[in-house]
Amino acid sequence: MPITYLTDVAKDNVEAVQDYSILAGRSLSNLFARPRYIADTLLQADSIGVGSLPIVILTGFFTGAVLALQTSATLQQFGSLSLTGQLVSLSMVRELGPVLTGLMVAGRNSSGMASELGSMKVTEQIDAMRAMGVDPTKKLVTPRVIATAVMLFFLSIISDLVGLTGGFVISFLRLGLNANEYWSTAYQSLRFEDVFMGLCKPVVFGLIIATIGCYYGMSAKGGTQGVGRATTQAVVAASVLILVSDYFITQLLMGIFGK
């Protein structure tokens, strides 16, 4: 069995990070150069955005519902049950809406991109594309990156609203809260900083999901096994990066806005 040297592992990882950064950078810089594949971008937006709608709605609804449920016991102890609306609202908008939507879309679409592009890579279709004078980054990667970033933005908004509704259903039916009280506290507790944070994160997460999925796809090798490996790695890497970047974005924005 060959000995794997630590230096080789380190070099491979650094090279991977370098290749990923180049791909990510190029996928965005391609926006400023012709040709721009608008039709492909719209197709991807449909597949990623509209296609993920059912799972985003389900995730959002039940997250909001369970938030209200879990926190009701503690809030009741302090006689603050009326704060449920505010709690669900701030948690969903600032954190759970973007992150859980991001994780769901990562699972669904990062894997889809990795497997689709990976299959094309191992069957030489990417080489065929390059051989015919078509830049695979422009044709395949950039549309997916733009579509995911834009669609995740809107999906998070939908997730937030559906989450608030889920919280409302529990608050109204189980906890006996007043509907007007719930919705007015939910709405009034939101400040610009909260909404900004909640809408900034999905764009970053969208970029992460698509660039990771495309990177693992385009660097797949080793036949069907390689494609399978690429798909798994894409989902894991995208999910972890979403959680890590979530922390840093939160920290950064809290530092900027002071809240």
Binding site: T123, E124, Q125, D127, A128, A131, M132, G133
Partner: protein, 252 residues
């Protein structure tokens, strides 16, 4: 790309205009690599490569795209886009330029498909075609823009003898009718010799053998690779007269 040993060592040749060069050699000698280097899909560690007057070994990937449109490549496993129909596959290069499948493009696609005798398949998907048909569609896709250079990577690999003959006939037809320069990689000696001993007769619309004693030039030369180097370069008669023991064994 770093290997412990060079895959190609001191390989140097010149492909003349209108010439077909057949690359032969055992598996792993770097024949497919030469094609990928010619297209700039891989960059060499040392040396220079000039294609159609441009020195590509130092060119950036973005600058290669314009040049690649003048070169056609037929990949080993066809490499058709499996989520597009045959028509969309063949029209791929044309659609990139104009963006849509116009009547003019449709007419050119049909013309290319007629050349490979697959005129009726344009609405099928690659998955619905046999291996030989996929290979012919790949040829149609490569020739539709009338490229100045054609690269064939084992065009008959994995096909039965009858289908292989059909493919070789298409290669010979392309060579003799359009006078395209080409590099052809193959494991099959019989295909190489068929190409060197036949020509395409337009009046009969089929491939016929060159008559014995005829002075017809089939513009086909051989290049044999072994142990990362070229061990033979020349025409078929020269190859048959060669005394190198390895080549004699390879030919038998």
């Amino acid at each position: 790309m770093a290997f412990d040993q060079p895959v190609l060592d001191g390989v140097s040749f010149h492909l003349k205009h209108g010439e077909t060069k057949v690359l032969l050699g055992e598996s792993g000698t770097g024949k497919t690599l030469i094609l990928k280097l010619a297209l700039g899909l891989i960059k060499p560690d040392f040396g220079t490569i000039s294609v159609l007057g441009d020195e590509i070994s130092a060119m950036r990937e973005q600058d290669m795209y314009a040049l690649r449109r003048r070169i056609g490549m037929v990949f080993q496993e066809s490499a058709l886009f499996d989520s597009l129909t045959v028509e969309e596959n063949v029209a791929y290069r044309l659609m990139e330029e104009t963006g849509k499948l116009t009547d003019e493009i449709h007419a050119r696609v049909l013309e290319a498909l007629e050349f490979v005798e697959l005129g009726k398949t344009y609405s099928l998907f690659p998955g619905e075609l046999s291996g030989g048909m996929r290979r012919r569609v790949a040829i149609a896709r490569a020739i539709i823009t009338q490229p100045e250079v054609l690269l064939y990577d084992s065009p008959t690999g994995g096909l039965d003898p009858v289908t292989s003959d059909t493919i070789i006939e298409l290669v010979v037809k392309q060579r003799d009718v359009y006078k395209t320069s080409s590099l052809l990689v193959t494991h099959r000696l019989q295909d190489a010799f068929t190409m060197a001993s036949h020509y395409f007769d337009r009046s009969l619309n089929k491939m016929v053998p060159v008559e014995d004693g005829s002075s017809r030039n089939v513009h086909t030369t051989f290049l044999i690779l072994r142990d990362h180097k070229i061990i033979f370069e020349g025409t078929a008669p020269e190859l048959l007269r060669c005394h190198d023991p390895y080549i004699r064994e390879y030919l038998s």
